[in-house]
């Protein structure tokens, strides 16, 4: 059996804060290759292209750098032609890095086999329709939770996201500071977040990983605040048709069976480069998507408007 290798590249002082995640990766059977750097961020995309032994990559770097410029896309095609999930994490401060690492480690360690998916959207017929379709595609073999903004308020959703499900997918309008749905969901709404983290949150919408007029984008804030081990967002505007392509493919891949967010993104990516280019993967590229039984129980107990 081929050894699965994850490459972690981080500034030297950051490495120590990430050790819980390294232990979790090793515990999950991955070989971890660590590379620290002092000043210039290495060109990781170029390295992945030259190799054929990597399963995933996490690049950590100065938070002055924006997701749009540190990596070219959510995955890089390696020498063997495989899509290698390549994620970014801004090194803001030691506390946030430690919180991210312990969040991601917790998600790895909590186990669970059944995929549980939260479907989130803005209150708009176009997006509710996409969610309905996703629910139809998934409901036969997945626990699906319909938490769109017509049935749950922002405060309720923050709590619901703390159920600890493996995956949440948002469709609707997006901004660098957050989702337009739920009367505006911002990272500050998770300041007091004390719930169980999600495996990953995908924002299939415009600009949630963009740094335009914001210090840190919403997609970057979620893993650093312990809301999810990983997130996925766009650095620029996206097309509704492309996001629908993503939504359909995400459902297809979930139905086929998938373990990690990186694998999900790499397999679900539409063939059109324009549909993929705006997106970035943030946080742990190996974040598991399975939901523990307790998380499903908590999610079932979430109150929504009928």
């Amino acid at each position: 059996m081929t050894e699965r290798t994850v490459l972690l590249v981080a500034p030297r002082p950051c490495m120590q804060h990430l050790s819980p995640l390294l232990r979790a990766w090793r515990g999950a059977g991955f070989r971890v290759e660590r590379r620290s750097y002092d000043s210039d961020m290495p060109d990781i995309a170029a390295e992945v292209k030259r190799r054929e032994d990597l399963t995933a990559v996490l690049l950590v770097g100065s938070s002055r750098r924006a997701p749009a410029t540190v990596l070219p896309s959510p995955f890089v095609i390696d020498l063997a032609g495989r899509r290698v999930p390549t994620a970014w994490l801004p090194a803001t401060d030691a506390r946030s890095l430690r919180r991210f690492a312990s969040t991601a480690a917790r998600v790895h360690q909590r186990g669970g086999k059944q995929p549980g998916v939260a479907l989130l959207s803005q209150w708009h017929p176009r997006y509710l329709h996409v969610v309905d379709r996703m629910e139809t595609l998934l409901r036969d073999d997945h626990a699906v939770f319909h938490w769109t903004s017509d049935v749950i308020l922002r405060e309720g959703l923050v709590e619901a996201m703390g159920s600890g499900l493996g995956l949440g997918v948002y469709v609707g309008h997006g901004r660098p500071i957050g989702w337009v749905g739920y009367h505006g969901m911002r990272s500050r709404h998770f300041k007091a977040f004390a719930g169980e983290p999600m495996g990953a949150v995908l924002s299939l919408c415009c600009r949630t990983a963009s740094r335009r007029r914001t210090g840190l984008s919403y997609a970057e804030a979620l893993p650093l605040q312990g809301v999810a081990a990983a997130s996925f967002g766009a650095t620029s505007d996206t097309l509704h048709t492309d996001n629908t392509r993503w939504a359909v493919a995400v459902c297809d891949v979930l139905k086929e069976g998938v373990n990690t967010v990186g694998e999900l993104i790499a397999r679900a990516a539409p063939s059109s480069p324009n549909a993929v280019a705006p997106y970035r993967l943030i946080g742990d590229p190996l974040a598991p998507l399975a939901s523990p039984a307790a998380a499903l129980q908590r999610a079932h107990a979430v109150q929504v408007c009928p």
Binding site: R126, H129, V130, R133, L239, T244, D252, P270, S271, S272
Partner: protein, 93 residues
């Protein structure tokens, strides 16, 4: 010879229409088992824009082709879509 080529083209088009019909029935199970391939997606079959985008996404997956959003308005029926796919397949080959 020419007749053989025409028959082959018709057979390929029929195959594509059948594949599209099957894809569309997966997307919209309420559709009947069969319907005229010239039926208009929106006005006669009651499909909406999401159904069409999903159909295009599945066509892209199945036939390994990229379809620009600007092409979407021309996909008004199975016939129109099959013609497009066959032309693209011929061109790409």
């Amino acid at each position: 010879m020419k007749t053989n080529e025409t028959e082959e083209t018709l057979r390929i088009t029929d195959d594509v229409i059948n594949q599209l019909r099957s894809l569309l029935t997966q997307i919209q199970p309420r559709l009947p088992q069969t319907w005229p391939s010239g039926s208009l997606f929106q006005s006669e079959l009651g499909l909406d824009s999401l159904d069409l985008v999903e159909l295009v996404a599945r066509v892209e997956q199945r036939y390994g082709m990229l379809i620009s959003d600007s092409e979407l308005p021309r996909f008004v029926s199975l016939d129109a879509m099959a013609d497009y796919i066959c032309a693209r397949k011929q061109f790409d080959a």
